[in-house]
Subunit: 441 residues, 2 copies
């Protein structure tokens, strides 16, 4: 992609009202634009990251056996009256009246809707287990939207829902999602800490939050740093067996939010060098709530003995748009964003210092095509801007590698490669650039 | 994919209230489920088709130089007050009040929102031309939602918006979108007829609708059948030059909606054998409206002489969810849907007649893997159902090719392949099945 033909409205100014790094950087890098309180447009660079995260989440959920559907953004209030949550959900639910005075609402979550789908079609234990997920925009009318995407109102969420014959099977489904979540976060380049959680308005008896430690988190957690050392990619995953042994690897290590923190257990279980404490951003939340919705909404199935029983359910949420911000909060420096390779909007940025130098223009375009033909996404800054602005903008948008092409270097058949994360620069032969960069991905 | 592990709730019954073939077939094939009037959930099979259409639209729009963004579903009423459309839009606009009594609305279209994005960042003619598109859920509160996805309320639309310095450049952008649309419809396997259109509530001076002829269309059009003979894939497309000569290929041939039909011109311009007349479903609509929004909303740019002038705009819509239904309306038979290859949810379906025959099970799985390893998407019906139901369901969901595997054929190393469109069956050697089917895509 040529920068001059793209749309990345960067800015040097720190936007007023943006208090945390991710919010400032997303605005400055031209990734998002605020439209109303807590409601954003996604500009091209932001949308590319959002879609990469969405695809990783989708792939891992499908690997775990979940099946993708898509429920609408607007729901009928009837379902929520049935489940008993309509009145209790409070002001965060955006209630809507249509032209015929029917009561609709902008879905803040989809337990009711998916239970209605299940009860319409599934009548027998033979069709279980079933796990349905969707990735859809949701709305929660936060009283004070702030921190950009971390506490916005319209947000993109992946939510999965498991259906099982009994509590034991339901736990197997829960474990699968737990492990799938750790794989998702691993691929996104962030270290998530699972913490036992309250189930809040979703309800249920088992629940875990997945949080990452950053300077700007809203809650504080205490944890055993060895959690971050567990390498999920080395685990023998399979969607056909109970993954409890893997879940136990995580849950046997201490973690707790500050309101549930037990100093004595923490001190006795966690060696001094592994004691972790920090502010946390929640990026996922899973719940096992048994028959909380299936009983009132009559989602019953026939079991092996022909007995009609309520189905056991769980729900599993990942904040897809929130993750864009969370990843930035855990990976930036004074110059801008530092994208993990898996979600970067482009893998390589090219800065051409010789804007009117024919050889520089030719070589820049050639390297761009060569890298693209090798499957990399490349952004070539061909704008008629000062070199200082090009350097600053490229650092700001945070692509993992930069290629700097200048007339002097080119005379010696050299170009410079900059590693965005550690800021190291290396002068290399023009001939080896494609091979070198391709090998990094 | 194994059918038994997937979620395709098919049904023999014609659903009450579903009056047209696409609506009946989508419900019967387990593609969608109605949630409220004009609001649907997309079940796995439907979602797969929706995403394939979405991707074709995206690819073609990007080829034409359009850049993808994503605007939110909810918009502030302020922008619509600025443009002057807020009061006039009428009851089809879903108006919403949030907890702080701010007026929001569920976007029925995005001219205002995208103009606000443009005016925030673009100040100079040097950044033009620019074309921004998004693919997002929209809502129009139809007084009488009907015909399934053809006149639903929550629907997925691709809308693009062009920005140019003057009317002449704006026409170049319009032509690009016109040609891009013809390429989209060609790839989707449907023959669209461009018809000069009224611009309605969007406004403007040039406008074309793109319609396909089916038995269930809502309006009638008269057209020259030679329009459908133009092969857009043979046209030398390039996003860098004016495509007017290609647009003219289409527009020089007669087409008109019945309210604008001119019998004399029709009779004099269209030879008898090319006279076409039929009911039409609109699948796309493009508009060139100059400064209708940029003037009141003050989206001004500096021209070459430093003069501040309003930007010239156009908008270009394709009904992505509507296309799922429109494609079915133009491609079905008594047994069910007949998917064009480009959007079929799976390319091949396998029916195993020997549900408990070890050899049949082995061969079915093997062929499935072999085809998948060759890049095809395969659905293997491994359910414990009657052979009659398997045949009927496979015809109903309309995959282009079926492989029928039975114990008797297998003894002779044979299997049967059925072409869904023409219903022809062919017995072929087991060994050649992968090569044969791969060659069809």
């Amino acid at each position: 992609m040529f920068w001059s033909k793209y749309f990345i409205p960067t800015s040097k100014e720190i936007p007023s009202g943006a208090k945390i790094p991710s919010h400032q950087l997303m605005l400055r890098a031209g990734m998002i634009k605020q439209e109303s309180a807590g409601i954003y447009s996604w500009l091209p660079l932001g949308l590319k990251v959002l879609k990469k995260i969405e695809n990783i989440v989708r792939e891992e959920q499908e690997l775990a056996g979940a099946i993708e559907i898509l429920m609408p953004t607007l729901q009928s209030s009837d379902l929520w009256v049935e489940s008993g949550r309509y009145d209790g959900y409070g002001d965060e639910m955006l209630r809507i009246t249509d032209r015929h005075d029917a009561n609709l609402l902008y879905g803040p979550t989809n337990e009711e809707q998916v239970t209605e789908i299940f009860r319409t079609y599934i009548k027998s234990y033979k069709n279980l287990p079933l796990n349905l997920f969707h990735i859809q925009w949701k709305f929660r009318d936060e009283i004070r939207p702030r921190f950009g995407l971390l506490r916005g109102r319209e947000f993109l969420m992946k939510d999965a829902y498991s259906f099982d014959l009994n509590e034991k099977d339901s736990r197997i489904s829960y474990n699968k999602m737990f492990v799938s979540y750790m794989s998702i976060f691993e691929r996104l380049g962030i270290k998530a800490i699972p913490v036992v959680a309250d189930s809040g308005p979703i309800g249920g008896n088992i629940s875990h939050e997945f949080s990452i430690i950053t300077k700007t988190g809203e809650t504080e957690i205490y944890y055993d740093k060895r959690i971050a050392h567990i390498d999920i990619s080395s685990m023998p995953l399979s969607s056909d067996r109970d993954l409890e042994v893997i879940v136990d690897e995580y849950t046997k290590l201490y973690s707790a939010t500050d309101d549930k923190h037990d100093k004595n257990i923490y001190n006795s279980q966690v060696p001094e060098e592994f004691k972790g404490k920090g502010k946390a951003i929640e990026v996922g939340h899973i719940f096992s709530f048994g028959t909380k919705y299936s009983e009132p909404m009559k989602a019953f199935i026939n079991d092996e003995n022909g007995k009609n029983v309520p189905v056991f359910m769980g729900s599993y949420g990942v904040g897809v748009s929130r993750l864009v911000a969370a990843i930035i909060e855990s990976s930036f420096d004074d110059d801008g964003i530092v994208w993990p390779k898996s979600v970067t909007p482009f893998e390589v940025g090219i800065i051409n210092l010789g804007h009117s130098d024919k050889e520089c223009i030719k070589v820049s375009s050639q390297i761009k095509s060569d890298l693209e033909n090798n499957g990399l996404e490349v952004l070539l800054d061909d704008r008629d801007e000062s070199i200082g602005k090009k350097y600053a903008d490229m650092d700001l948008i945070g692509l993992p590698y930069q290629i700097i092409i200048g007339p002097r270097d080119l005379k010696e058949e050299k170009i410079e490669i900059k590693d965005r994360a550690n800021k190291s620069k290396e002068s290399i032969d023009l001939k080896s650039v494609v091979k070198l960069l391709t090998s990094k991905f």
